[in-house]
Symmetry: C2
Subunit: 407 residues, 2 copies
C-alpha cells in the first residue's frame, strides 16, 4: 500500500480548489498511489487525524470540474505555523507517525507563504530522520507575492474581479453631473500586485482608475491632494485605487493615522480608503466616498479567470509528477515562456528559497510619480485575467461544491 | 414632425439601461415618433438643452442588446426635484417650451420615487396648460419600494448579486476551524427587500445567512447578542445579513449609536454593520468582521438577473405603448399573474398614487422574532433572480456600452 495526502491552508482564493482538483487528477492519472486522503483544516487535520478519503469521491469528471470552479477550500483551511523543530519536536513526530500509520508516501500542501514554511520545515525534518515521504508545496495567494514563480494561483482571478469591479464602479460614478472622488481600497498589506490590477479596468472609453497607489511607493498626502485637485479640473469623477497597505516615507501605514473611538472608549483603526476619504472631505471641497473591496475579491468564483483556474489545476498536477519522480522539498513554479502569445511552463524550486520571503512590485512597474503603474506592469498582468469559467447556476445562484467536512 | 424624449434619473441599477433599450425599441417599433431624443443627466438635460438623437444610434440590434446589459445610466443621471409649480413655475415653463420647440409629443422618465414625483408634477402641469405631451414614468430602483407594482426593475439584479455574494462569503467563512461572526451590510435605508434577498443564498448545504434584520422590524441589541451567542453553540461560523437602515424600537438608526472622531475633530457615523461588529467584539468573545456590500450591489451587470433585464425591457416598451395610446400621468406597473410557473403582465397606474410613497416589507414576510424572513418572502423573491445575462468579455473584462455623453 502506498498512499498520499493533500491539504489546503491560508486565506481563500477562487483557484485553490482548482489546484486541489489538479492534485486529485494527477494522483488518479499516475496510479502511483492507492489512496489520496484529504486532511481537514490544513496541517491541523493531520495533527488531529481528521481527514477523508478522496479517491472515490472524484471519479466522476463532473465532480472534479465543479471542484475546480468552487471558491475557498474544499478541505477547509488553517492558520497554523509549525514551531522550530529544535525547540519543539512534538508536532513533527506526530505528523510523521501519522504518515507511517497511513502509509503516506507524499504530502501536497497548497497554500501561501506560511504554508511554504510548513513544507520547508517538514521536508528538512524528513531528511533528518531519513524519511522517504515526499513533501511538495503548491502555491496559492491572491497577493502574488511569492518569489521565483512568475505569478501565483488565485491572483489572476482576484485581479479579474478587481478590474471588472473597477469598471463597474466607473459606470456607477460617471453618471452624475457633480464632481466626485471615489476611493477603492484593495487587499494587499505588503505587495501592490492586486491593486495594480485595477489598471486593467481601463479600456477604449475609460482611463479610470486615474491614480493607483501601492505599498511599494511612499505615499505623500500633500502630493496626493494636489494631484487629485488638479485632476478634478479635467474630470468630473475621479476614481482612485489604493492598496490597504500604503504607507508614508517613514513606513507608517496611512491607515494608522486616524482612529475610531467607540462608545466603550476603544480605538479602532480606519482603513487606508476611509482615511483618504476623510482627508479629501476635509481638505478638498468635493463629494467623496470610499469603497472597500471586501472578501469577495478573493472568493468571487463566478468571475474567476479561466487562465488562472487552468494554471492552478496544472500546478496541482505537476506537484504529483514531482513527487512521483521522487523529488521533495520543492514548490511548484510557473515560468512565462512568452507573453504574446502567452505561454507558460511548469517547474519547481527548493521551497527554502521561497518560504518567508516576499516578492514586491519592482520599481520599473511603478511610474516615477508613484501614482500609477507602467505599461510593463499592464503587459505582465493582462494575460492572467483572460477567459471566463463555466459556472452553472441553480435557483439563480452559482452551483458550487460544498466544503467537504460539513457534509 | 412628432418626436419623443427619454431620460434616466436617480441611483444606478443594472437594469435601467434595459428599460431605456425597451423605450428605444418601442419607439422604433411603433413608428409613432420621428425622432427619439435622449436627455443627458435626467430632467436637467431638458432644462439645459443637453440631449442627443438616439434614433440612428440603435438601429443595429447588437448595440441595443449591449445597452440592455450595461450598468448604470447610458444617458447619465441627476438628483433633481422639481419645485412646487405654485411656488416656482420657471422650470415648468422652460421644459414645456423645450417640448414645443423640439416637437415632443411624449416624455419617458425612467427612475425611482423622486423621478415619479417629477412625472406627477409634469403631467399635472401639462393638464393645467392643456398640453398634449404625454408624460410616462418607467420605474427603477434596487430598493423595490415603489407601491402598486409587484416589484421594481433593477431589484432582481441587485437581489441576485446579494444572494450570490452571500453564498460566496459563506464559502469564504466556513473554511476555518475557529468560531467567527460575519456581518454583511446591505443597502436599504427604509425598506428591507434587498436585505431579505440574502435568504436566497441558502441552498441544500448552507443555511447562511443565519439571521436577517430589516428596517421594518425593531432591532434590540440585547436580544441580538443573545441570539448570536446561542447560535455560536450550534455553528462555528455565523453569518448575519443586516440592512443599513435597521433601527431600534424608538426609530433610531443603529448605525447612529457610534461615532468616528478623526484627527480634525469631526464626527463620522459608522454604518450598521460596523456598529454591530464593534458590539460583538465588545460583548462576545469571538472573532468578528463586517462587510459592506458596496455600490457593486447596484451595478454588477455581469451577474444581473436575466428575468429582471427582460422585464425592465418590457416595461420600457410598455411605456411607449401607453403614450401611443394617448395615456399620460401613468407609471408602468408589473403584475404577477402566477408564481409557479412565474408569469407577469404589464399595466399602469396613476403616478400620483405611487410618487412619494414607500412600500415597506409587510409583517407576514418577517418572522415573529424579527430576525429572519418567512417562506412567503422566499416565494416572492425567488423568481426575480432567475437567469443570467449574456455578457461578452474583452481583454478579460466585461464589454459594456460607454455612457453616451463621454464619447
Amino acid at each position: 500500500m502506498k498512499n498520499c495526502i493533500v491539504a489546503q491552508s491560508g486565506g481563500p482564493t477562487a483557484a485553490i480548489n482548482a489546484s486541489l482538483a489538479g492534485v486529485i487528477q494527477g494522483v488518479l492519472h499516475h496510479q502511483e498511489y492507492d489512496h489520496i486522503y484529504g486532511s481537514i483544516n490544513g496541517i491541523i487535520g493531520i495533527l488531529e487525524e481528521r481527514f477523508l478519503d478522496l479517491t472515490e469521491r472524484f471519479q466522476a469528471k463532473e465532480t472534479l470540474e465543479q471542484l475546480k470552479v468552487s471558491p475557498a477550500m474544499y478541505l477547509g483551511s488553517c492558520r497554523y505555523k509549525l514551531p522550530n523543530p529544535k525547540e519543539d519536536i512534538t508536532a513533527f513526530e506526530k505528523i510523521f507517525k501519522f504518515f507511517e500509520k497511513m502509509e503516506i508516501a507524499a504530502f501536497f500542501y497548497i497554500g501561501g507563504n506560511d504554508s511554504m514554511d510548513t513544507v520547508d520545515k517538514l521536508s528538512a525534518y524528513a531528511a533528518e530522520i531519513q524519511s522517504n515521504v515526499r513533501i511538495i508545496g503548491i502555491p496559492k495567494t491572491i497577493d502574488n507575492d511569492l518569489c521565483i514563480t512568475d505569478h501565483t494561483p488565485g491572483f489572476g482571478s482576484a485581479a479579474k474581479y478587481v478590474a471588472s469591479s473597477l469598471l463597474e464602479i466607473y459606470h456607477d460614478t460617471v453618471i452624475y453631473y457633480v464632481k466626485s472622488v471615489t476611493i477603492v481600497e484593495i487587499m494587499g498589506r505588503d505587495a501592490g500586485w492586486l491593486t495594480a490590477a485595477s489598471a486593467l479596468a481601463r479600456n477604449e472609453y475609460s482611463v479610470a482608475p486615474h491614480f493607483i497607489y501601492l505599498p511599494e511607493a511612499a505615499f505623500d498626502t500633500e502630493v496626493f491632494l494636489k494631484d487629485v485637485r488638479n485632476l478634478l479640473e479635467k474630470y468630473n469623477n475621479v476614481i482612485i485605487a489604493v492598496s490597504e497597505g500604503i504607507r508614508d516615507k517613514n513606513g507608517n501605514y496611512i491607515s494608522a493615522s486616524r482612529k475610531t473611538t467607540d462608545n466603550f472608549g476603544h480605538s479602532q483603526l480606519s482603513g487606508a480608503g476611509k482615511t483618504l476619504e476623510y482627508l479629501i472631505q476635509d481638505r478638498l471641497n468635493v463629494k467623496v466616498r470610499s469603497i472597500e473591496l471586501n472578501v469577495l475579491q478573493r472568493c468571487s468564483s463566478h468571475i474567476a479567470s479561466r487562465t488562472d483556474l487552468e494554471e492552478s489545476f496544472c500546478q496541482g498536477q505537476h506537484g504529483v509528477t514531482l513527487a512521483a519522480e521522487g523529488k521533495t522539498g520543492l514548490m511548484v513554479t510557473i515560468k512565462r515562456e512568452s507573453n504574446e502569445p502567452y505561454q507558460v511552463s511548469y517547474g519547481a524550486s527548493p521551497v527554502c528559497e521561497i518560504a518567508n520571503k516576499v516578492k514586491s512590485v519592482p520599481p520599473e512597474f511603478i511610474t516615477p510619480q508613484g501614482n500609477d503603474v507602467t505599461p510593463e506592469m499592464i503587459s505582465y498582468l493582462k494575460p492572467l485575467i483572460q477567459g471566463e469559467p463555466e459556472i452553472t447556476f441553480s435557483q439563480g445562484i452559482p452551483c458550487y461544491l460544498p466544503v467537504s467536512h460539513l457534509l
